[in-house]
Amino acid sequence: MDKRGKKVAVMACSGIGKAFGALARETTYELVERVRPDTAVTACLSLLVIGDPEARRLVTENPVIAVDGCPKECAKKSLESQGAEVTRAYQAIDFYKAHKELKPEGISELNEAGQRLAAIAADELAEVVDVLVARENK
């Protein structure tokens, strides 16, 4: 892959049992769709488990950010199991701890506070994406 064409892969856990899984998912969408659409990309986490070559290449040839919902760190573990070096790992619950006024609720659809929290988290992660891209393209 052309080194200058490298992007940052952002992989969310998307856990379906808790609002923090939804927050991880929404944060990832905010990052790849709104905040850094040219330098951040995502892929289906579950593709890694079935050994999809394209997904595996994405996470082994680019810097990777894992965004998990909870301390079980399923996204991070899934990435590492496929040989990906997770450059940065986050837990969505920590975004909430830093912004207690925004309590995420809902799984299918995050409440307004959760959506605002995801936007704030993505803005914060954008700086990390910029640093990683700059490092790769040196």
Partner: protein, 137 residues
């Protein structure tokens, strides 16, 4: 399968982040769990399941499961088969949409009213599958 007293089905959604059908799968499965078949279905978190969650894998090995995949790569079905055994039913969102004459979704998030209606229709098919599995077991 062992007699578990209270019969439940584990629903495993692919929740694929990169395709709208993954979001649709996720939303439809939650509708089944929360609204259509509460008490008869439980969610098995696919990321936890594949990351080595013993409780999830044990449940899926002992109880009937329904996998719901967004695309033909069938990640949820394959992961379930890999870690806990063949799912009782393996549903594919694209097939459900085709059989009902519904348009494929276009959004990854913030579903509009049209896509929420599609999610409801898909959820009804999943709920029907839950009934069939419980009827068979």
């Amino acid at each position: 399968m062992m007699d578990i007293g209270v019969r439940k089905v584990g629903i495993i959604s692919c929740s694929g982040e990169a395709l709208p059908e993954g979001t649709l799968s996720r939303v439809a499965c939650r509708k089944v769990l929360d609204d259509l078949r509460p008490g008869k279905s439980v969610t098995i978190c696919l990321p936890l399941f594949i990351a080595g969650g013993e409780e999830e894998r044990r449940f899926a090995a002992r109880y009937p499961t329904i996998t719901v995949d967004g695309c033909e790569k069938l990640c949820a079905a394959k992961a379930t088969q890999m870690f806990s055994g063949k799912p009782s039913k393996s549903l594919l969102i694209r097939e459900i949409l085709k059989s009902r004459g519904l348009a494929r979704p276009t959004r990854l998030r913030h579903l509009g009213e049209d896509q929420k209606a599609v999610a409801q229709a898909v959820a009804e098919d999943i709920a029907k599958a839950v009934d069939e599995v419980l009827g068979e077991s």
